[in-house]
Symmetry: C2
Subunit: 343 residues, 2 copies
């Protein structure tokens, strides 16, 4: 830690500008009660001297904390790193700093991280990543966030509902439906699903979309193989092996995110099963590498970077009575991993 005394303080600026500490503070934080002329002078002097307020002192004194806490499942997952990129962009524009922590897809660990952020007095908390279908775990988190918000903290979430906060909502259900419709339109009927961990709302929602599309074609999801494994590439591998072993007649695999789809493709390649000739594969999210896979992946695009930007933008607005909701929309991106069902 830089030693005290070594850095410019607000008093120095005030002195140099010939005003009191109080006036300098007001001038720089844009409060009124200062004449435009004086405010201008203070700002100019502060500029010249290269003054930057000590955020610790400022926050301690009751000013707004200028750091935003971002909780992601795992930052080296492209889905989350793209979201983080969006958040960081907006934060940089606003002169805010972003603190990132991992939840590791564990609701209890996530709660711990959130408590830590609150204890650290961050002014804004952003939570990205799926919620949990088990309401008991979510309830505690929700309560913690409610208390935080009632004390003036701002919260926005990405991809989860019912946390009592502003939310950016990816179009999971409609996206799931679009993927299933696409495959059904290509004539596929023996469809398997590589689903992520059971208990994630994202998985449930995407699955619901798939089920709805199937019903429209007289099919029942309950009768098709749905394999729940980790929501990661490795999970995709495991799911693919199981699907191949137990349902060799499958002609299409719906992976509920791109990471899983990558695992599925890897297994199919290892088994020398050609995609899309013998089996079609779809993913979800459209992470940036999806287009570069072999074959390039048909998937549903979610605007991750934009979602990150929107979440922070929401949190920067004053709180509204009812939580705001920003659906993201989605786009089906058809590439080379899907084709007509084999005869």
């Amino acid at each position: 830690m830089p030693k005290p005394g070594s850095r410019l303080r607000l008093v120095d600026v005030a002195e140099r500008a010939g005003v009191s500490l109080a006036t300098a503070s007001r001038a720089l934080s844009g409060r009124d009660g200062v004449s435009a002329e004086v405010a201008d002078r203070v700002r100019r002097v502060s500029q010249e001297l290269g003054y930057v307020a000590n955020p610790y002192a400022r926050t301690l004194a009751g000013g707004a904390s200028s750091t935003v806490g971002l909780v992601v499942h795992q930052v080296d997952d492209p889905y989350f790193s793209e979201i983080a990129g969006g958040v960081i962009e907006v934060a940089a524009e606003q002169g805010l700093l972003v603190q990132i922590c991992h939840s590791g897809r564990d609701p209890h660990f996530e709660l711990r991280q959130i408590r830590h952020l609150i204890a650290q007095r961050v002014g804004i908390i952003l939570i990205a990543g799926s919620g949990y279908t088990d309401n008991r775990v979510e309830a505690e988190t929700k309560a913690e966030l409610a208390a935080y918000q009632s004390l003036g903290g701002r919260v926005a979430v990405i991809g989860r509902h019912s946390l009592g906060a502003d939310a950016v909502l990816p179009d999971n259900e409609a996206g799931g439906r679009a993927l299933a419709e696409h495959l059904l339109g290509l004539g596929h009927r023996r469809i398997a699903v590589a689903a992520g961990t059971e208990g994630l709302t994202t998985v449930a929602d995407r699955l619901a979309g798939v089920a709805a599309a199937l019903r429209g074609h007289g099919l029942d999801l309950a009768e098709l193989p749905v394999v729940h494994t980790d929501f990661t590439r490795e999970g995709g591998r495991v799911a693919a092996e199981r699907i191949l072993g137990e349902h060799p007649e499958t002609t299409a695999v719906i992976a509920l995110n791109d990471a899983m789809a990558m695992g599925v493709l890897a297994v199919l390649r290892a088994h020398r099963i050609s995609v899309p000739e013998r089996v079609s594969v779809v993913g979800f999210d459209d992470v940036s590498v999806a287009a570069d896979l072999a074959p390039s992946l048909t998937t549903v695009r979610l605007p991750m970077t934009e979602m990150g930007r929107t979440a922070l933008a929401l949190a920067l607005k004053p709180r509204s009575n009812r939580p705001r909701r920003r659906p993201t929309g989605h786009t089906l991106v058809v590439r080379d991993s899907t084709g007509p069902a084999p005869a």
Copy 2:
């Protein structure tokens, strides 16, 4: 910001434990001058009450800041997100928070971010990503960091030399040599290089390794096409188009990172040029998707996550007289994107 008075303060803990504020502070921060018995009692009470110190007050009062600033070129680049993942892991173990900001591969912008972090009084600064061969820009950054360190701040860098701080050094030159040797061994002679932005030390070092290998086989890098474009996928695309247009006889492309290699592969695919039958392609870094590309990418593996962990570990040690250096080692990973030179 949670309002004052709403949260547990150290005085509350002290009162409840029947000691003074000073003693409570000493007990919790492990300073001596407190009997083991009293210290224990304070710690127990603090536990029970769920007390967490206010970091702003603590830092303001002269304690060590518990946040580490991480500067990366771009967090949604897998190379950096994996490094960030490693940093965050170690930080979580130590109860530290990580603030991430972008430098956007611009030395001046980077310097601004570093100044911002210093002004924010973070206790540790980690800088990831290539340095710049132009010493003038680096000099200013170096001076700033030196001042910061002399005031007690800790700094560690990843992938750059000569910043006067502890460094994790990826094996760029040896890696570059290994890649070139590999291609030469396969009989390739008409080799082109898709190099990143000129002026990055990473590019220069990797290129130097390539040049050394070539010399060993009686070739001169100066006589081969070396195309400098952005160190990104898009840059890879541009480079590949240029190489294809101006040197159609090329049988192997060395991309100086995996992102560029992906761009190169995309262009070759678009031109229906088969890899590795007609052209071999190699990358550098081994980001996690490299294995899932089409074809899977031959590359040099750098242990990014580990590099992130090591950097923070270095910064957590007390400063040494001479900057420490931790070379990373490298591994050539041969996959499907390279094959014998066509006859």
